[in-house]
């Protein structure tokens, strides 16, 4: 276990050193992130302009969902996208061989090899939005800590789904954009589930569990969902992590190296 932490530190310090070559990009990323947040707020405002609202969600409460969504976007562009989108290329070019030869778990290597600081502004602005709305609503500080639990479950769900989609490239080599379909669907996390028609809610709970990514943590933070939502998210997260691990081992059996 300690070995993995040491490797992780080496992985990430090299990745950050490489990315810091492009410092201007960091300024652009910060601007882009701020613009993205402004756009999200504008998009939400359109629904609240004429005194209308999502049923059961006041403006500040809906803001928390936007904040969590921004936070998740930052998380995925820092940790998930740079690693998991590369699985396809490893399969395509046959470089997965080198990964498999290393004396550590190949899933770990593929999931944690690099980190990209460009998502950090999103994480920052997302957190700022949550805290701003939280202060306006007078949320108890303990609630923040409690809501971290479903948030972590949400991240685990997102990671597992993404990783499994990446792993399918072992069979279908040229489908690097399958993750783009997932990303497109994740956009639904911008709004609380109450904003959607019933059919959409069903789809985003049971088919692509976007509801657990943003709405459940927000409801926990607002102290209204009770423990049931968190438990459901937790069970789903643990199940998906196991499935992802099993799925990867299963997929590897079909791996026939390329170009070597």
């Amino acid at each position: 276990m300690g070995r993995y932490f040491k490797i992780l530190r080496i992985f990430w310090s090299t990745a950050i050193a490489a990315e810091l070559e492009y410092r201007i990009n960091f300024a652009i990323a910060a601007f882009t992130s701020l613009g993205g947040l402004a756009g999200s707020l504008f998009g939400l405002f359109l629904f609240y302009q004429t005194g209308s609202s999502f049923p059961g969600w006041r403006w500040e409460e809906a803001l928390i969902v936007v904040g969590i969504f921004t936070l998740l976007e930052g998380f995925s562009s820092t940790f998930l996208a740079p690693n998991l989108n590369r699985i396809v290329r490893h399969v395509q070019e046959g470089t997965l061989d080198f990964v498999l030869l290393k004396p550590i778990s190949s899933q770990f290597w593929l999931s944690a090899h690099t980190v990209s600081p460009w998502g950090v502004p999103d994480i920052f602005f997302g957190t700022a939005t949550i805290v701003y709305a939280g202060i306006k609503l007078g949320i108890d500080p303990v609630a923040y800590i409690v809501s971290i639990v479903p948030l972590v479950f949400g991240l685990a769900i997102l990671y597992s789904l993404w990783f499994m989609l990446g792993a399918t490239s072992i069979w279908f080599v040229k489908i690097y954009n399958v993750t783009e379909v997932l990303r497109g669907l994740l956009e639904a996390g911008r709004f609380p589930m109450a904003a959607y028609p019933t059919a959409y809610r069903f789809f985003f709970t049971f088919v692509v569990p976007v509801a657990f990514l943003t709405t459940t943590p927000a409801e926990t933070l607002l102290g209204r969902s009770g423990i049931a939502g968190t438990i459901a998210a937790g069970l789903l997260a643990i199940a998906l992590l196991f499935v992802a691990h099993w799925f990867w081992r299963f997929a590897l059996r079909f791996y026939t190296s390329a170009s070597s």
């Binding site: 492009y22 201007i24 990009n25 652009i28 990323a29 601007f31 882009t32 613009g35 993205g36 756009g39 504008f42 998009g43 359109l46 629904f47 302009q49 004429t50 005194g51 209308s52 999502f54 049923p55 279908f172 040229k174 489908i175 954009n177 399958v178 783009e180 379909v181 990303r183 497109g184 669907l185 956009e187 639904a188 709004f191 904003a195 959607y196 028609p197 059919a199 959409y200």
Partner: protein, 262 residues
């Protein structure tokens, strides 16, 4: 003239064959444009609760039109161009007796043709699921829609190809595109029809090229009020402006180009 026609035919068939080879990939690209369908759900639901000036069915039709417009006008030239410059592959293209942009134009146009069957399939599926939204625009509307969508594609392509020119000077032109894309997303009418925007934002937006890329063609198709003549003229003006800027940057950029890695 004959030579031009022959070149066009060759390019079109080559790139069409290339696009059709990756059908599964193409279907996934179509599906990744699901944002209008998601927003359709939110808006139809919101319109049932309070008055936004449009009925739920009108919202559904609008977002279906947005989906179609996005399928017809999607552009990715900046990523390809950036790679060509960084890897020095542009050098080979420059040796050919034809402007390299035509490779990109034909790959985009032929991809459109390969993509349309999937998009039509999804639209039919949508009407099966939501029969009250079925509507049949008349021939003139359809013709105007395709004209506007074609022009929107041209403008979108010109803008992105102009941004791509920055690749001659910096290594990551595509991060500029991401910044640009934000404005495109929030001001173009992709997240909501321009009629529900607050008055001031709508006025400001109409001074930018964005609403003409999505809101204008989509509104034509579903019959929302638009100023046709003004819209087309503004689009042509933006096209001309970006074309001039593009050619100027292209000439300056080529002097800068060092053909690294080739």
């Amino acid at each position: 003239m004959k030579r031009v026609l022959r070149i066009m035919k060759t390019f079109a068939t080559v790139y069409y064959a290339y696009m059709v080879e990756y059908r599964a990939e193409l279907l996934l690209w179509v599906l990744s444009g699901s944002l209008p369908i998601i927003l359709m759900g939110v808006w139809t639901q919101a319109a049932q609760r309070s008055d936004f000036g449009l009925s739920p069915v009108e919202f559904a039709r609008y977002f279906l039109a947005v989906f179609l417009v996005r399928q017809l006008t999607v552009v990715w030239v900046i990523w390809e161009f950036e790679r060509e410059v960084l890897e020095g592959k542009l050098s080979f293209r420059l040796l050919q007796p034809i402007d390299p942009v035509w490779h990109h134009v034909f790959s985009h146009v032929s991809e459109r043709l390969a993509r349309i069957p999937f998009a039509i399939l999804l639209i039919v599926l949508f009407f099966v699921l939501y029969p009250t939204a079925i509507f049949v625009p008349n021939i003139a509307t359809i013709a105007l829609f395709f004209l506007a969508a074609g022009l929107a594609f041209a403008l979108n392509f010109l803008i992105q190809y102009t941004l791509a020119m920055v690749a001659f000077w910096t290594e990551r032109a595509s991060s500029l595109q991401e910044f640009w894309f934000l404005f495109y997303l929030f001001l173009s009418g992709a997240i909501a029809p321009l009629v529900v925007f607050p008055q001031t934002v709508r006025t400001i937006a109409l001074f930018t090229p964005f609403p003409y890329l999505i809101n204008f063609p989509a509104s034509i198709l579903v019959g929302l009020p638009v100023n046709l003549i003004q819209g087309f003229l503004v689009m042509l003006a933006w096209c001309a402006g970006f074309f001039a800027l593009n050619r100027w940057l292209w000439r300056r950029g080529l002097k800068q180009y060092s053909g690294m890695g080739a």
